[in-house]
């Protein structure tokens, strides 16, 4: 049986609605998490992101000052921020396809439609831990690979140019994680 050590994970919940923050905190504590930080809008969410260095961010979409989408775009700055790869779970009442596409294009890792359930939230957390997607960097995009998986039956055009890596390197990049000390 798979077990996630929630006790060691650090979460940041960004939602302008106090009731929804309380629900999320209750669910995360129920999973076993101890460190759950909260922010009530996109601006304080960004500040909390830089201060607490969370392992996983759960954010609402529609918020004052700036939205969850804008918060995601600000976090996905590989040259200007400490942890641009942090998993971001976007939780929202918007479930229309165009909204999902916009969230994906902003760099959201997982999308969770409201109403939230313990099972739905748990599955998305497990997914970002066990099945992280590689990140793609182009001139116009930086974020998780928007292709969920390789399709062996895909017959359309190859939109990404060059099928072979020009160079593969192991590198220390600007990503940082909190030290244990």
């Amino acid at each position: 049986m798979l077990r996630i050590d929630f006790n060691s994970l650090r979460f940041l919940v960004v939602d302008d609605n106090a009731h929804m923050r309380r629900i999320l905190r209750t669910l995360l504590h129920g999973f076993g998490a101890r460190e759950v930080y909260e922010a009530e809008d996109g601006a304080s969410g960004l500040e909390a992101f830089n201060h607490f260095v969370p392992d996983i961010i759960i954010t609402d979409w529609a918020m004052p000052i700036f939205s969850g989408l804008e918060l995601t775009q600000m976090i996905r700055q590989p040259d200007g921020n400490a942890t641009p790869y942090v998993p971001i779970i976007m939780m929202t009442g918007h479930s229309e396809k165009r909204r999902v596409t916009a969230a994906r294009d902003a760099g959201v890792t997982e999308f969770l439609a409201k109403p939230v359930s313990a099972k739905g939230l748990y599955e998305r957390i497990v997914n970002v831990i066990l099945n992280p997607r590689p990140f793609i960097r182009t001139k116009t995009y930086f974020g998780p690979d928007r292709r969920r998986g390789a399709s062996s039956t895909y017959a359309g055009p190859e939109r990404r140019k060059a099928s072979k890596a020009d160079a593969i390197k192991n590198s220390i990049v600007s990503d940082k994680v909190r030290s244990t000390g």
Binding site: H19, T26, G30, K114, P115, I129, I136, R160, A165, I172
Partner: protein, 184 residues
């Protein structure tokens, strides 16, 4: 909070890079053969059930917030801020009503969100229709214990949705992409 660097493998292609950051979170997952009855989801559901005694009051709060936003918009006229306050209040009800145990309220709140979002000129948002939506949300919530509440809510929502969609289609003539979204 102190941070340390992690490694990432970067493959560079013609017009993009594929970056595989070290997965620091993988270490928090383990395979436990004898986990017994430990079920994180069940524990979280139980914790939420313990909290559910608060949900009725929370729904009251949300309905009151919607009512205040409506009154501000009607009394002082539509502005970007009053419009967005009403939208956020309706949007939160749409997202939370089911969690709070009032799923039949969500559809009317959704219809109000659509009315606000898809009316191209905010000054054209019909206040009568706004009032009808807000009053419907509050009435459905207030009468939720009635045995026929769900049916009445569905009828009310159907009517409001029909009127709203008709209005929105008229307002968005010449904008086929928006009409496609409205028609879903």
């Amino acid at each position: 909070m102190p941070v340390k660097k992690v490694k990432a493998a970067i493959a560079t292609y013609g017009d993009h890079e594929v970056i595989r950051p070290e997965n620091g979170l993988r270490g928090y997952a383990s395979d436990v053969p004898d986990a017994g009855e430990d079920d994180a989801v069940a524990r979280a559901e139980a914790a939420l059930a313990d909290l559910s005694g608060e949900f009725g009051n929370w729904m009251d709060d949300e309905c009151e917030r919607l009512d205040k936003a409506r009154n501000a918009l009607v009394d002082r006229g539509i502005s970007e801020s009053s419009k967005m306050a009403l939208f956020h209040a309706a949007h939160d009800i749409k997202g939370q009503a089911a969690t709070f145990g009032f799923p039949a309220v969500a559809a009317v709140a959704d219809s109000l969100c659509r009315l606000i979002e898809f009316t191209p000129l905010m000054q054209r948002i019909p206040l009568t229709l706004v009032n009808q939506h807000v009053d419907a949300v509050r009435a459905i919530h207030r009468e939720y214990s009635r045995s026929d509440a769900i049916d009445l809510a569905a009828q009310l929502n159907r009517k409001l949705r029909d009127v709203t969609d008709h209005f929105l289609i008229e307002e968005n003539k010449g904008r086929p992409d928006v009409i496609e979204q409205i028609k879903g």
